[in-house]
Symmetry: C2
Subunit: 505 residues, 2 copies
Amino acid sequence: MASRPTAASDGAPDEAKSSSTKTNVKAPQPSKRQRASTKYKHTFAVHSENRTSCLSSDSTEEPPSFSGFRNLMGLVLVVSNLRLMMENFKKYGVLVTLSGSQIRKGDWTWFGILYLLTPCFLFVAFAIEALAAQYAKSKVADKKRNEEREDKQQVEQSKRHAFLTWRVIAFCHGFNATLMLAIATWVVYFQIHNPGLAAFAQLHAVIVWLKVCSYAFTNRDMRHAYVNVDPAEAALPELYKSCPYPNNITLKNLSYFWWAPTLVYQPVYPSTDRIRWDFVARRAVEFFFLSIVIFVACAQYAVPLLQNSLNDFSNLRLVNLLERILKLSTISLVCWLAGFFALFQSFLNLLAELMYFGDREFYSDWWNCCDLRSYWTSWNKPVTHFMKRHIYAPMVGRGVPPALASLITFLFSGLLHELLVGVPTHNILGVAFFGMVFQIPLIYMTDPLSRMKSRTGRLVGNLTFWLTFCFFGQPVAAIAYFFAWQAKYGTDNRPEWPLQGMGRR
Amino acid sequence: MASRPTAASDGAPDEAKSSSTKTNVKAPQPSKRQRASTKYKHTFAVHSENRTSCLSSDSTEEPPSFSGFRNLMGLVLVVSNLRLMMENFKKYGVLVTLSGSQIRKGDWTWFGILYLLTPCFLFVAFAIEALAAQYAKSKVADKKRNEEREDKQQVEQSKRHAFLTWRVIAFCHGFNATLMLAIATWVVYFQIHNPGLAAFAQLHAVIVWLKVCSYAFTNRDMRHAYVNVDPAEAALPELYKSCPYPNNITLKNLSYFWWAPTLVYQPVYPSTDRIRWDFVARRAVEFFFLSIVIFVACAQYAVPLLQNSLNDFSNLRLVNLLERILKLSTISLVCWLAGFFALFQSFLNLLAELMYFGDREFYSDWWNCCDLRSYWTSWNKPVTHFMKRHIYAPMVGRGVPPALASLITFLFSGLLHELLVGVPTHNILGVAFFGMVFQIPLIYMTDPLSRMKSRTGRLVGNLTFWLTFCFFGQPVAAIAYFFAWQAKYGTDNRPEWPLQGMGRR
């Protein structure tokens, strides 16, 4: 290298082009040519102007794009999780088994009974409503007759009678709905041991229960609007005109509501004109694969982790427990995101397509939210719609301050969460409920962030949301309920939880 | 809940506002008011139009922003690495020690000698160049005299004499540079046992060696341009006009080059007009903290990992080794990024500010690059400038095809890498060299990607770059050299590598 300067000295570029240059030492006199400007290669001024480093804050240029680092982040996430999967495989081998056969036969029986029984209450509600519609029709006929006769006493009497009838009907609806939830909860809590099957049964029951409530509430209001023919009737949405009360009280209408991907009853829904079968197929495939992902993630990764954390939990080793919670957070996040997509995107869209159901807004972009309030109102639109229409709005309409109304709505939602988690795991711990209650101060704390226009405020809000939700909320609840389950059932070696034996000490 | 419909039935909103509404059962007849439109709360049409889910591909709206998921990615990365740090702490405790005292005394002595000796060769190069400048001045005077006399024979003789002199001078420069590198390499390889100290000494020697080469090459060209007063002289950059050859051959000028954050000699550099001491302080703090981060990352995370992988390496357990490499990749990535920032942003900017050095473009946004060629030309601008000006451009200027020239440049760069890694670890394995050679096919493979305009092509290129560089290149090299080190020195329990005992079997 060091001797190359000699060999290379001033070889005229044009002459050298045709022959070997390295050994061919030319006379040092440079030829005077036009291309001389390219000759003194080593003198080129590399540093010709003042420039700043592109990461310096005093840089006058546009800051560079960091999209490469974003790609790197994604890559590191994928690779580090691949590594964890390898580590898991080395440690445990394959844990995934088709554990359906391990569920007790009694569980299946009760599950089947409950699954078939639950919708019956929807039809009971229909029967009640059909009677009410009959009565309402006769009321309207009476009213017309009385008004023609101008019989004031008769009108008063009729009103009193109607008032009592409406109360009886409301009581019937209430009794029907309460009975249904009570039966379902009793069966799930006392008869279905397997928590997965129990959770599914309870979820189904709660969904149908909410449908029953919505059916009763909506028809009550429509019935009153029908009976009291007044300007208020004009307040009913345009959409309902094609099927006014009591024409909507039909089995067909109810059956549509039963299967429609919504918890809110309307006599008429916006609808599509045809079923796109390729759309249905794609959604079905998505749902199928995501279900497998969730199943594998739980059996292979979450369960061993939960098992390993039992000892730390019972001895209250806080550092270890925190480490476990952090490790669990990734897997619960994956399950949550996959589950969200499977349920709200794939399944509900599939159902909507099959039902010609037009309004597919089952969620909005909750992942960008920078306050917890908007998260809670945007991730699960079917429930949000129910809460808004049947709990929050009526309360506010009757003069409850909005803040109090939203608090009550939230507490109700907390109760539903506890019902969906505590009952199937046979431990009404209140963690799910108080997890929801704990959201309330957070909502008020993050509310100002959503009003901030600055990027930082929104970023802080978004990170707060992710932190509370994905890192602390879910894994903590999962560990708590798993621990309670183990404390209650750990000694009898029922095979419902894979690896039950491994986790025991 | 189920009995609430009764209580809530049609309570007139306006009347209820002032009093408790829940127990106050009103007559069912609604009052006919203007605000009736807000009365039948439960009938509100939630589903009033056809809408798509925002994640559906058939959505007609703008796709939603996914910035929330980007934030989540960052959060997951931070949290999962926090977890790994906790796991590491549980397993190993604190491994970081101030190991400076564990380095042999002889190492420090040789390091000091080498550190002081190295710059001397720069001054030898100056002495040679000063003599050459003297001769050049006399040559120019001769030439003028001869041209006045039009003594052709004298001119020819003078030319021959000059030719010989230039060759002698070039030989002296070459000998000086070669001797310097040879001495440094000998000292590092045979006398400095500690690999960290050895790497630092070797890095310093290579930097000064490159400066010596650049000084010799540049002045050679400038000298020839000076002696042969011809139009080619006009080709010298404008910037140099303020200090033409031989005025630049001064000790002050050389000392500036010695400390300037560049490997490319120019008689004149663009300069700033003052030192911003707050800038200096910030860069110094950055450098200090990043150095600590790197030190801790190596001692606490990388060394145990490397120790653990020794057994898998010697038994060629490939799956385990792959798992180790993946785990190592994260830590080597952190070290690399921190090291890059510490050296290229903090340290070089600090040095530049102190030296009034204007051109701070020590790197460009290599993290966005979508082909390996642009990575290699943009992450380390000082070396790229050297390679371009003193190796690639002169070769191309003398007719070497550009592809071959860049290949040779790359091989030279590979040699330098091996020199910087193999010599300090006392194992010239060639992994660093062949790691570089392996880049060449990758460069040709990724070249088409950079010409693609599509996002996908650029993404694939960027991911290929990150994968080869951060996941396979560095960790594999680190394991290879560590293993070779252990194989060579593992038996004598010198305390240079923390945890040496733990890793042995």
